[in-house]
Amino acid sequence: MALSLEEVRRIAELARLRLSEEEERTFAGQLSAILDHVRQLEELDVTAVEPMTHALAAGELPALREDAVRASLPPEEATAAAPAREGTAFKVPRIIE
């Protein structure tokens, strides 16, 4: 199955990726080859099969913890790695003109 350049651009837009024209062409070819391989799964009849939605059996999962207030990272530390901030807020480019 060949992915068109148009589809590649649409996916890149959804994924918030900017691709060069060369990357668009390379990915169109490579992703098509991978999807062709994946197509093999269509040989299987899975209509009566439940999807594996969790890797652990129900009894192996921890119970939900109590919804109680606990200590966590101070805002100053939690935001320290941000490329731009004001106080303990993340700073981003203007969204609405």
């Binding site: 890149a12 799964l41 652990l56 530390e77 941000a82 490329p83």
Partner: protein, 492 residues
């Protein structure tokens, strides 16, 4: 009394720890020997992305002070180890092999880092890896290539390439890696060390940079089976900060370690030995199976009929989850931000363009496509159903055997650059390891000899029932004891 530094570096983890406790060697000597070895060899090897010498020396001093008082935190107290750069370390740069996290200083430690340090282990640095753990050769590291200590022109495997290379070359006594589709077992096999992918949920992933959340698991690499067992015992167990970590108690892995293979039923999946394997690898695997028989185990023919669909299911599920996990790298909360972008959307796209390499972009694209409107049922949902079929195959096989044995990889370590042009070819290297992740089972790679001709290590894969790591260690140890240790790789 002073042991030459090189000999100190070849000591096993438990041996080194016992030496510190007996005050025959000091933690400082071990750490200095490790740092000197990294200094001497890593220019050629490329196993480390960062070395934290000051922090390691301080920790070694503290360990020596404990030993002087007769205190011992654990069997690995005072011993130098290293961790893949995917584990966050408070105040120590953590990149996950990506430019988008260059210079990132995490505000907390991963649970496994905390547990290693609480046990007294000295972390000397952060290890090289494929960007965001995506790769099978470590060639997707955004920083530097990593080489196989057995042959510097070959890959150490990936994505935990640095974790395997550093242990094989004697830079550290053990390391931690992560395994999403084979990323601990494949490099362990290529570098001739022991590598363990525990059951999904056995080890906390709090503070592990996420790739594919339904598959990722943390595990140890070491030169001896018992050393790997000790590290897993140290890091395993429930962590309230990770909702996917199991509350099951952790088994005693070291107790039954020497019980041998007598009476063990070893399942051999016929699909794993029917073509597609290099002759030298197949010969080594068959010889290992014969060894088990000689040791009193019974070989059982089993079938995993859906094995061949593993790659297809994996390359939908893992990219789909990655596309979601990697959405957080947008230039807002941490990591690289493209300056001067006009609006928010442009800032996201430009930051990601500059910060992410080809492989993460490729997988984000694939995953976004598979999850996009109109394709979800055909791709992601179908793959999750195939995953159920793969798990059922294993459940059925384990009715007649205790452990499953087969190859880790179709070939020994391949050459750097050999597969970088063809992603699908690279993905196919994971064919034997991937089903174990999809089925959430524990898997282990143990050296089973050197390939005739190339002289490169071959790994035997053992897969166990859920949470039955103890049987994997016992079976791997029986083989290790019989075959004896591999020779050390040549000096880099």
């Amino acid at each position: 009394m002073s042991t030459p530094a090189k000999e100190l570096c070849r000591l096993g983890l438990r041996e080194a720890g016992a030496g510190v406790a007996a005050k025959a060697i000091s933690s400082s000597e071990l750490v200095e020997a490790s740092l000197a070895r990294i200094q001497a060899t890593d220019g050629k090897l490329g196993a480390f992305l960062a070395v934290s010498a000051d922090r390691a020396r301080a920790a070694a001093k503290a360990a020596d002070a404990r030993a002087a008082r007769g205190e011992r935190r654990s069997e690995l107290d005072g011993v130098p180890v290293a961790v893949k750069d995917i584990f966050v370390t408070k105040g120590v740069p953590t990149t996950a092999g990506s430019r988008i996290l260059e210079g990132y200083l995490p505000p907390y430690d991963a649970t496994v880092v905390e547990r290693l340090e609480a046990a007294g282990a000295v972390i000397v640095g952060k290890l090289n890896m494929d960007e965001f753990a995506m790769g099978s050769s470590n060639e997707n590291s955004a920083y530097r290539p990593c080489h196989n200590p057995w042959d510097l022109s070959r890959t150490p495997g990936g994505s935990s390439g640095g974790s395997a290379a550093s242990v094989a070359a004697g830079q550290v006594h053990a390391s931690l890696g992560t395994d999403t589709g084979g990323s601990i077992r494949e490099p362990a096999a290529f570098c001739g060390v022991v590598g363990v992918k525990p059951t999904y949920g056995r080890v906390s992933r709090y503070g592990v940079v996420a790739f594919a959340s339904s598959l990722d698991q943390v595990g140890p690499l070491a030169r001896e089976v018992g050393d790997a067992a000790l590290v897993l015992r140290t890091i395993a167990g429930h962590d309230p900060r990770d909702m996917t970590s199991s509350t099951r108690p952790v088994d005693d892995y070291l107790g039954p370690l020497e019980e041998g293979a007598r009476g063990l039923r070893v399942g051999v999946p016929r699909e794993w030995l029917s073509g597609g394997l290099d002759a030298g690898v197949e010969a080594a695997i068959r010889a290992a199976l014969d060894t088990y028989r000689r040791l009193g185990a019974t070989l059982v023919d089993v079938s995993l009929p859906h094995s061949k669909y593993g790659i297809g299911a994996y390359y939908l599920i893992a990219p789909a989850e990655a596309s979601s996990n990697l959405a957080r790298y947008d230039g807002v909360r941490f990591g690289l931000r493209a300056e001067g972008a006009k609006g928010l959307k442009e800032m996201y796209a430009e930051s990601r363009e500059r910060g992410l390499g080809a492989e993460p972009k490729r997988r984000i694209m694939l995953g976004t496509y598979a999850l996009s409107s109109g394709y979800y049922d055909a791709y992601y949902l179908r793959a999750q159903k195939v995953r159920t079929l793969i798990r059922r195959d294993f459940d059925e096989a384990f009715r007649s055997c205790d452990v499953i044995a087969g190859p880790v990889t179709p070939s020994v370590a391949f050459r750097l650059g050999e597969r970088t042009g063809d992603p699908l070819q690279m993905y196919l290297a994971d064919i034997f390891t991937i089903t174990c992740n999809l089925a959430a089972l524990p898997g282990l790679s143990v050296p089973c000899g050197l390939e005739a001709g190339s002289g490169l290590p071959v790994g035997l894969q053992l897969v166990g029932r859920p949470f039955d790591e103890a049987t994997l260690f016992r079976a791997a140890r029986a083989l290790e004891r019989e075959l004896g240790p591999l020779p050390a790789p040549p000096e880099p």
